[in-house]
């Protein structure tokens, strides 16, 4: 995995956002390079992982893709608890989905890990003709709230790898710990687990 001298970081990342905003599609694009037009709704949650290399480290994302419906809201803390990063996804063709995204940001700011890296993704950027949310509006909101922002398209792959790469760059670099590369940490003490990201050399 990481060449000697490089850090290898495991980072838990959670995707939150409205139903059908494209959370699962973004993950599928990032992890498998695919797009499915009729991606099934997510029931419960899905977990997958993918590794990206940034200049000084290799980051293995442990990705939690959640169900978007408000009804399942109460399950979300189980998944964002201890996450090092979050991508809050809205659909640029749907104004309500941005409002929903803002609610998630609020919740993470009050409940989540304080040094969590948060990104706002305006997905379905390929659907320019149906756009309902102006880029500037979302950009301004993101700036005010200390998130970084990108418009993405899971369909065309625009900015998908980039958003994960940006997150990887922003993750805090922690003290190296003993962990064979590529392995899931076993029996992490709760404190370390809560920090969400762990690294090793």
């Amino acid at each position: 995995m990481a060449s000697s001298g490089n850090k290898s970081i495991n980072a838990k990342l959670v995707l939150l956002g409205d139903v059908g905003a494209g959370k699962s599609s973004l993950v599928l694009r990032f992890v498998k390079g695919q797009f499915i037009e009729f991606q099934e709704s997510t029931i419960g949650a899905a977990f997958s992982s993918q590794t990206v290399a940034v200049d000084d480290a290799t980051v293995k994302f442990e990705i939690w893709d959640t169900a978007g419906q408000e009804r399942y809201h109460s399950l979300a803390p189980m998944y964002y608890r201890g996450a090092a990063a979050a991508i809050i996804v809205y659909d640029i063709t749907n104004q309500a989905s941005l409002e929903r995204a803002k609610k998630w940001v609020q919740e993470l700011q009050s409940q989540g890990n304080s040094n969590m890296v948060m990104a706002l993704a305006g997905n379905k950027a390929d659907l320019v003709d149906s756009r309902k949310v102006a880029t500037e509006e979302a950009q301004a909101y993101a700036q005010e709230n200390g998130l970084f922002f990108m418009e993405t398209s899971a369909k065309t792959a625009t900015n998908v790898n980039d958003i994960f790469y940006e997150i990887a760059k922003r993750l805090p670099r922690l003290q190296p710990a003993q962990n064979p590369s590529g392995m899931v940490l076993l029996n992490r003490p709760p404190a370390e687990k809560a920090a969400g990201a762990s690294c090793c050399s």
Binding site: G20, I43, G44, Y72, S74
Partner: protein
């Protein structure tokens, strides 16, 4: 119809009547004082006799061995025998010699520790006789009833008390001598009681047994043989292959015993917790935390991060056990056989037989349209063709009325009706990504996709409090695929949601109660696995969420999903077979899960990726076996009202939360 088993047990009154017709072979208790059957030594008195008491060495009915159970009194001591009939099962794989292994020859009650009675709601009553050594005989199924009578007879002649922990366990203590009773309560080695027991001086059975030593020979399955293992003293002839086989059989039986013991002690723990059911509500709110501390940690898997961890043995390992209860699956129910279930006017004559048939085999696809409405309890089993036709017509009108409720919402009204717009939007998003790979739903502007939407939207008005929730489109899709008709699909869906609606309730109570019940079932059916989950923060069983929420819809292809659903909908062995099915899957992968030390994340990923990998029929059989095995202890794990049981309170009430948009 491939129906191999004998009828359910008749109650004792029926048996008494039937036995009078059976003639000399049968036994009538009133003449027990005078009678002793041939081959028994003088002075022995048969105090109980029951025919058609059967053991099930394998799941194949052809292998089941019927025999005669007797209680014999001699020299003041009570003995139990069970001798298989000769010449039965001509085409079975078990030879006469195999059968001899199971024969119970004159086991003195001083060697018996307890008798556990099982009264499954459906099927035969059976008992498991546990020896003092901890080993047990295989379950004895009473095809003709008579368990109560058996226990009553034992009680007359031996010291039998009902266990304080479990009303179905009867503890045996056959010491007439008060001094011996005291000795036994001090738990002196049981060799003492055997030595003093009259068993060594009687010869009641076909096998010569004039002393302890001989009783270990000859392949007889009896109490003294068990004592060899317990004392650990090898006696003569330990290279005798027959005896080795004998020991293997004993070991397998001991699995059953261990299981029985574990469930018993489990229930004992439960009863200490100030009433199992009363504490349920409380525990949903604090999921599983407080009972964690009450669970023992018998084997803690080595968790020092080594990828190859020794995996604690599965206490009920099916593949390796000959005592498998699950029956082979049958071919699907076809048209001709189905027509035999109906009387001339179209009533199902024996609904239970029909459910049983479907439970074991499912239904041919072209019959589903006719049968699913029964299974879903939309059509009553005792309705006639004409009544059903009428019901369909009435319900169609009712559906149209319901549908108009949202159809009549104009654009202008919709603009002022956020809840409606949002609900419709959500349904629109979901129907276009439900089973689109099926030709039935594929393509642009597919009319069936529109039907899905219309039915779901109508349902969300019919049950406005519950509304629409993700997952519902998965439940409707196979129904529409089968029923084709819009109104019929709607009403079948309504019936299904009567039972599964709580899966989608806002407070998640339906899901919590099922996950809770699942955790209790794993605890009694595979405690090492349960302990593993507990130690690895997987105790909430959320990795099974999708399985339960939409009844394994995402785990199987369409055809298998339909088969599984109709089997579950029969509610034949249990209303909660789906939970045993979860246990069955988990047990199939337990060694991998524990061996690879999966944490919650890895486990969730692993479980999600099992989609399309699960072998349906064998898993169903495991689920059936687990359900039978767990018996009433399993049922006791599942609180009343747990979906898909009908809710205890009014089913139509779904609490609303403030500030909840959908």
């Amino acid at each position: 119809m491939i129906e191999t088993d004998i009828n359910d047990l008749s109650d004792d009154a029926d048996y008494a009547a039937a036995s009078r017709q059976q003639g000399p072979a049968s036994f009538n208790r009133s003449d027990s004082g005078r009678r002793s059957s041939s081959g028994e030594t003088e002075g022995a008195e048969v105090v109980y006799l029951k025919d058609n008491v059967t053991i099930h060495p394998t799941q194949y009915a052809a292998d089941w061995i019927s025999g005669r159970l007797k209680l014999i009194k001699q020299a003041g001591s009570l003995f139990m025998t069970w001798i298989p009939y000769k010449g039965q099962n001509s085409n079975a794989r078990l030879t006469e010699k195999d059968k001899n292994l199971y024969t119970i020859r004159a086991v003195p009650f001083s060697d018996i520790k307890s008798i556990r009675r099982h009264n499954p709601p459906i099927g035969w009553q059976y008992i498991i006789v546990v020896l003092s050594s901890g080993l047990a005989f295989p379950p004895l199924y009473f095809y003709n009833g008579g368990v109560k009578e058996f226990l009553a007879t034992v009680k007359q002649h031996a010291f039998l008390v009902r266990s304080a922990d479990d009303a179905n366990v009867f503890v045996v203590n056959d010491f007439q001598d008060p001094l011996q009773k005291t000795l036994s309560s001090l738990e002196l080695p049981r060799a003492v009681s055997v030595a003093n027991s009259p068993s060594s001086s009687v010869a009641l059975s076909e096998s010569p047994s004039s002393g302890n030593q001989e009783m270990t020979e000859g392949g007889a399955f009896n109490g003294s043989a068990a004592s060899v293992r317990q004392n650990g003293t090898p006696r003569q002839k330990h290279n005798d292959p027959a005896r080795d086989l004998h020991m293997q059989v004993l070991e397998k039986f001991s699995l059953v015993t261990r299981f029985a013991r574990e469930t018993t002690s489990q229930l004992f723990r439960e009863s200490q917790m100030d009433g199992f059911l009363a504490s349920e509500r409380r525990r949903y709110d604090q999921p599983l935390v407080e009972h964690q501390s009450l669970v023992e940690h018998p084997e803690s898997p080595d968790s020092n991060g080594s990828p190859k961890t020794p995996v604690p043995a599965d206490p009920l390992e099916f593949d390796k056990m000959s005592l498998v209860w699950g029956k082979p699956r049958q071919p699907r129910l076809g048209l001709e056989e189905w027509s035999n279930f109906l009387d001339s006017e179209g009533r199902v004559m024996d609904a239970n037989a029909l459910k049983k048939r479907i439970f074991y085999g499912g239904v041919e696809h072209n019959l589903r349209r006719e049968l699913w409405p029964f299974l879903l309890e939309y059509h009553p089993y005792d309705s006639t063709f004409a009544e059903r036709e009428y019901l369909v017509a009435i319900k169609k009108l009712e559906y149209e009325t319901l549908k108009k409720q949202w159809q009549s919402i104009s654009h202008a009204q919709a603009r002022r009706f956020t809840k409606f717009r949002e609900r419709k939007g959500l349904i629109d998003k979901d129907v276009v990504r439900t089973d689109r790979s099926l030709s039935f739903y594929d393509g642009d502007d597919n009319p069936n996709v529109h039907l899905l939407r219309d039915i779901l939207l109508t349902y969300s008005f019919y049950n406005f409090d519950l509304g629409y929730c993700q997952g519902m489109s998965d439940l409707l899709s196979p129904i529409l695929f089968v029923m084709k008709d819009e109104s019929e699909s709607f009403w079948c869906f309504v019936s299904l949601m009567e039972r599964l609606g709580p899966n989608f309730s806002r407070d998640q109570s339906g899901m919590h109660s099922q996950l809770f019940a699942l955790s209790k079932l794993v605890e009694i059916l595979d405690s090492p696995l349960h302990n593993y989950f507990q130690q690895n923060e997987c105790i909430n069983y959320f990795f099974c969420f999708r399985w339960i929420l939409i009844q394994f819809k995402r785990e199987f292809d369409f055809d298998r999903t339909m088969l599984l659903w109709e089997v579950l909908w029969t509610r034949y062995l249990s209303e909660h077979l789906h939970l045993y099915f979860c246990v069955a899957i988990l047990k199939r992968y337990r060694n991998k899960i524990i061996g690879e030390q999966m944490d919650f994340d890895t486990l969730l990923k692993f479980i999600n990726e099992l989609s399309g990998q699960i072998d349906l029929n064998p898993t169903l059989r495991d689920a059936e076996a687990l359900c039978i095995c767990a018996g009433e202890n399993g049922a006791a794990c599942i609180p009343p009202g747990t979906p898909p049981s009908l809710p205890i309170e009014d089913a139509s009430v779904y609490p609303q939360l403030e500030d909840d948009i959908l």
